[in-house]
């Protein structure tokens, strides 16, 4: 059983390009439809949880499925299975990458690719904005944190994004507390 978990997730880790969201559909296919380890509802719940917890989304799913099947060791087996293939591949790549990046035409290719990476990140942010619940507070936080991060980069300040995130969380909690205090007991949902 442990081996089965390990192999299934190793297979998923080996054949998914494109990170977390591409993996979820494969995990769903393998664990729900072929192996019947978890139900559709479980899968939906874990996807929601994975989005609100830190860390790679696929790792969150693997841990959950593994734990459901075989407890702690199952969770370990599934998670290790998921990351082992990419670990091996990237480690092998890293041994050769430096000499690879010295070839002239690859250098010029990567000059274009670097811009493309930036564009893709902006696209990812645009997608997230489209999905976000648009409320005044979250819009303010979004614009504020974006502006703060731009300032940090332009003036190369020593201010990490972690502290910015903690600050945003604190602001949101404070607003929630004030709001629920002013509207009596219970308050409204944030």
């Amino acid at each position: 059983m442990l081996l089965d978990l390990f192999l299934t997730f190793a297979q998923i880790g080996l054949f998914t390009f494109g990170g977390g969201y591409a993996m979820i559909s494969l995990i769903e296919n393998a664990c729900v439809e072929r192996k019947h380890w978890i139900t559709h509802d479980d899968m939906m719940n874990i996807t929601v949880i994975a989005e609100s917890t830190p860390g790679p989304i696929a790792v969150n799913c693997a841990t959950f499925v593994g734990y459901r099947q075989k407890g702690l060791f199952g969770a370990l087996a599934a998670t290790l299975g998921l990351i082992l293939p990419s670990f091996v591949i990237i480690y092998a790549v890293s041994l050769f990458l430096d000499s690879f990046l010295e070839i002239t035409w690859i250098v010029s290719a990567f000059r274009g690719i670097r811009i493309a990476v930036g564009i893709l990140i902006v696209d990812a942010a645009a997608n997230m904005i489209r999905k976000m619940k648009k409320k005044p507070l979250s819009c303010v936080i979004l614009v504020g944190s974006c502006a703060a991060m731009l300032c940090v980069n332009v003036f190369s300040l020593k201010f990490s994004s972690v502290s910015l995130m903690l600050f945003a969380g604190a602001v949101s909690l404070t607003v929630f507390l004030i709001r629920s205090a002013s509207s009596g007991k219970g308050g409204e949902k944030p």
Binding site: V48, G55, V59, T63, Y67, F110, I141, L142, V154
Partner: protein
């Protein structure tokens, strides 16, 4: 002590990387640049490589940074450090605190964190485009070809995606993957933010056509493999 630095740096990334790989990139960039492990260019190259190789992008980046700083052992430490927090948090949530995320205070904090992450990602993307694309034009004897090529390709790429989405209404493969599960998503719409209009709450047995465009639920999110595709595409075309 490089091992300790790697461990602490990537534990930090693992603890705060909300919103998947793209949420983690600004954090990794922060950590890597502040320790001076890699140059900005090399890190960006590596992001492209991580997107085009299998596995979670975050894990790939951690492995690479670790291995470039401290060999195999460093790669192991960085990878485990980035995975451990999410592993523990999920275990904790599934075993003990099944309702913790529904707690209103936790929800309030998360409600502030998420837009902040989006803002950070947006800023980082803009900074990367400007630094890699626009700044070289001002300083050196400007070589504008990379920027023009990438901008043109990006236009073609996003334009074609829009046309494919709206014009042709091709049956997209992701939809087949979801199949009739969509109906279930609609039924569970209290658990998941889902389409705002365009579905019939009562029916449930048929999917109206507009749902496809309205799908917002996390499960039925378009699981596209577009980013590595674009990267590869650009590799091919930027070999001028």
């Amino acid at each position: 002590m490089i091992y300790l630095d790697l461990l602490i740096g990537f534990l930090k990334v693992g603890c705060f990387a909300f919103g998947g790989a793209y949420g983690a990139i600004p954090l990794i960039r922060d950590v890597v640049l502040s320790y001076g492990w890699l140059s900005d260019e090399r890190l960006t190259d590596m992001i492209a490589v991580s997107e085009s190789s299998p596995g979670p992008i975050m894990v790939n980046l951690a492995t690479y940074v670790g291995s470039s700083q401290a060999g195999l052992f460093g790669a192991l430490i960085a990878t485990l450090a980035v995975v451990t927090p999410s592993f523990l948090i999920i275990l904790l949530l599934t075993i003990l605190l099944k309702t913790a995320l529904k707690n209103k205070y936790a929800a309030a904090v998360l409600g502030g964190l998420k837009p902040c992450v989006i803002g950070i990602v947006l800023a980082t993307g803009c900074v990367m485009v400007i630094r890699q694309g626009v700044l070289p034009l001002l300083t050196e004897a400007g070589d504008s070809r990379p920027l023009i090529l990438s901008a043109g390709l990006a236009l073609v790429y996003f334009g074609s995606r829009k046309i494919l989405k709206k014009g042709l209404r091709r049956p997209d493969p992701d939809f087949r993957l979801c199949g009739d599960r969509d109906v279930r998503c609609v039924r569970n719409s209290d658990a998941i933010r889902f389409s705002r209009r365009g579905y019939r709450k009562d029916g449930g047995s048929r999917i109206s056509r507009s749902i496809r465009h309205e799908r917002r639920g996390s499960c039925c999110e378009k699981f596209s493999a577009d980013p590595p595709f674009l990267t590869l595409f650009l590799t091919k075309s930027a070999e001028y």
